[in-house]
């Protein structure tokens, strides 16, 4: 990592929704940073706040009064996104940060040709000539691996298959060569073979353009071959953060252990039963005191129910875990074995 300023820094971000039942604290203090050209995977189960975190970066969450950034800042290229006016934000969305969504079937306007939708975005990014924009749009479609792009340019979204639509979405997002791409579960709604193609496409494009990516997913498998860094989220907080290899090799948080153990092994002859994580995620209307995972954690200690754990550094580069097991006092009281490495936690 170079010493120059990171492209994106999220600091202690909290986001809440107002519902008729009360305030839902969807994100409760999330921090991470991303360098140019890097990929960050945010992993967690549904409702853990990963999508809300991602959408905060482009400010696509519902605005006040229904949604609100409670505290924290999002620094992108030195500008605090939280404090920008809507006008300034539109400029950033037009040129610098683009987003692709989970469901390609619904994320394109059904009554406008695909080409027009891409072109519209290009015209927003500073290209003024329509012909030029069209040329760029067709190139983008081609780059996204869509055959006969000139023809496809004139077609409507319903004439595209799901995978093709996601490619079109990628073309739409990448046509302006943004510095940051936010991908909110881009492969979840696709079948497995298409998933792999789309992931490869994203990887290829990233290399080509040196774009930074925030990839949201619930599937550790998806991030394993694309992410440089991983943040594991649970109940609106990051519980473990580090470089991808470190997370896979030295997974440290009991929740991370949980999700890794509940992935079916590649070797199907392995008849060992999967170990699901018991229980359900907490209600973010009234988040529990202390560690939110404590109620489902087989290693929980009394302290976990009273206090949030501070971050502890563990094996690897900048690898951190927010878990009391790594406190000296916990190690004095009992030894805990990391089920992934098979070694005692240090």
């Amino acid at each position: 990592m170079s010493s120059e300023k990171p492209l994106l820094t999220v600091k202690n971000l909290a986001f809440s929704f107002q519902t008729y039942a009360g305030e839902v604290q969807a994100v409760r203090g999330v921090s991470f940073q991303l360098e140019k050209g890097e990929t960050l995977g945010i992993v967690g189960e549904s409702g853990c706040g990963k999508s809300v975190t991602a959408k905060s970066i482009v400010r696509l969450n519902p605005e006040e009064p229904s949604g609100k950034v409670k505290h924290g800042e999002i620094l992108f290229d030195g500008k605090n996104i939280v404090e920008l006016t809507e006008k300034e934000m539109q400029k950033i969305r037009a040129r610098e940060i683009r987003m692709i969504f989970q469901d390609p079937m619904t994320s394109l306007n059904p009554t406008m040709t695909v080409g027009k939708q891409i072109e519209e975005g290009i015209l927003k990014s500073g290209v003024t000539s329509k012909d030029e924009a069209k040329k760029i749009a067709i190139e983008a479609l081609e780059m996204a691996g869509i055959p006969s792009p000139e023809e496809r340019y004139r077609q409507f979204p319903h004439e595209f298959s799901g995978g093709m639509r996601q490619r079109a979405m990628i073309a739409l997002a990448m046509a302006v060569n943004p510095k940051l791409l936010i991908a909110d579960e881009p492969t979840t709604a696709l079948d497995v073979t298409t998933q792999a193609q789309i992931l490869n496409l994203i990887k290829k494009i990233q290399k080509q353009y040196d774009t930074a990516i925030v990839m949201i997913t619930h599937d550790l498998g998806v991030v394993s071959n694309i992410a440089d860094k991983i943040a594991v989220m649970y109940a609106g907080k990051v519980v473990e953060y580090g470089e991808a290899e470190d997370i896979f090799e030295y997974a440290s948080h009991p929740y991370t252990w949980g999700i890794m153990q509940s992935i079916p092994p590649e070797d199907i002859s392995n008849k060992e039963p999967l170990k699901p994580i018991l229980g359900t995620p907490p209600d973010l209307l009234n988040p529990p005191k202390g560690c939110a995972f404590a109620a489902r954690c087989p290693y929980a200690m009394k302290v976990c129910r009273c206090y949030d754990a501070p971050g502890f550094g563990v094996e690897g580069n900048e690898h951190k875990v927010w878990c009391w097991l790594y406190d000296e006092r916990a190690k004095q009281m009992q030894a805990t074995v990391n089920p992934i490495t098979g070694q005692e936690v240090r």
Binding site: K11, N12, T19, Y20, A21, G29, S31, Q33, K237, Y241, L278, G279, T280, P282, D283, A294, A295, R296, C297, P298, Y299, A300, M301, K302, V303, C304, R305, C306, Y307, D308, A309, P310, G311, E318, K320, W322, W324, D327, R329, A330, Q332, M333, Q334
Partner: protein, 316 residues
């Protein structure tokens, strides 16, 4: 990564060792559901109660219903009692809403009219519901050719403006409470049939129904257990909205001269009589019109409230 989660850091550093003892008991409870399960109905009721407008509307409607029952019973006038000595009188303490051109007390006639109009509206709504559910249910259940023919039939009926049907049927049946009900319900059920058929189709495709089929559940079980709870919200909403439109249709018929025969009082009859005398005796339109408007308003607001309360997607 320099910052830490904000908390009283002094506390943490001085925590005694026993805090770090394993908490076995807690994990035993992990698989218990963390949120108390709320049944659909109590949840819907809670939402409905929170909707002040809908609550006020239902209270007003109950009040109107009570007055409609009570007033004709205890009043010293009857709805068809004429008094040629007191014709076209303005509202007074003797006649709260005044009298009409035959000296009949408009106050009593309004509440008698409420009985008739609300009766017609309720029966129409129930008929619409029953016929629509049966028709739509059969079409949806069998699907294929039967469904195709049945739905074409609906389309045919719907391609003629509803009011023309009503007029034709009243001409055949001759004006009266029964014929008015039949005429309005004769085309009113189509909306419900389409809606319910849609629900049946949707539910047939749902995975949880397939799951329950594979577990050997019979059709009746599926209908009771899955179809009705899911379709109930649109059905109730549709029936609630059918009431104001029936009141509307009845008053329309009276206005164009196909209403109930004399001396029956209904809101439609009263309002169309009043409308004809608006220029000389505006109060004769004012009271029945106000009652119609308030009732329609309340039913519309109630319908909105029910729809919001019963929509499972609103659950959080």
């Amino acid at each position: 990564m320099t910052e830490e989660i904000k908390q009283t850091s002094d506390d943490i550093r001085t925590l005694p060792l026993e805090f770090f003892e394993k908490d076995e008991q807690a994990y035993e409870d992990a698989d218990k559901i963390t949120r108390p399960s709320v049944t659909y109905w109590s949840d819907a009721w809670r939402r409905f109660k929170a909707n002040k407008i809908a609550m006020i509307s239902s209270i007003i409607l109950i009040l109107i219903a009570v007055l409609a029952i009570v007033v004709p019973l205890i009043s010293r006038y009857t709805y068809d009692q004429t008094d040629l000595m007191a014709v076209n009188q303005a509202p007074s303490s003797a006649h709260l809403f005044g009298t009409d051109d035959l000296g009949r007390d408009i106050f009593v006639r309004c509440w008698e009219g409420a009985r008739v109009s609300l009766f017609i509206a309720l029966v129409v709504s129930i008929l619409n519901g029953t016929i629509g559910i049966l028709y739509g249910g059969i079409a949806g259940y069998f699907g294929g050719l039967a469904d195709n023919i049945m739905m074409r039939f609906c389309e045919l009926i719907a391609s003629i403006p509803q009011m023309l049907w009503v007029i034709l049927l009243i001409l055949i049946l001759k004006p009266g409470v029964g014929p008015v009900i039949i005429a309005i319900a004769a085309t009113g059920w189509i909306g419900m049939a389409r809606l319910f058929r849609g629900q049946v189709f949707q539910i047939k495709e749902m995975e949880f129904v397939m799951a329950s089929r594979t577990m050997g559940a019979g059709s009746i079980w599926i209908i009771l257990k899955h179809l009705f709870p899911n379709a109930l919200s649109p059905i109730i909403t549709n029936m609630a909205f059918a009431i104001p439109s029936a009141i509307f249709a009845e008053s329309f018929l009276s206005y164009i001269g196909l209403g109930l025969p004399l001396p029956t009082a209904s809101w439609g009859v009263l309002a169309s009589d009043g409308a004809n005398k608006l220029l000389s005796y505006p109060y004769q339109l004012l009271f029945p019109a106000l009652l119609i408007c308030i009732t329609m308003l309340c039913f519309n607001l109630l319908g909105d409230g029910l729809r919001d309360a019963l929509d499972p997607r609103m659950r959080q």
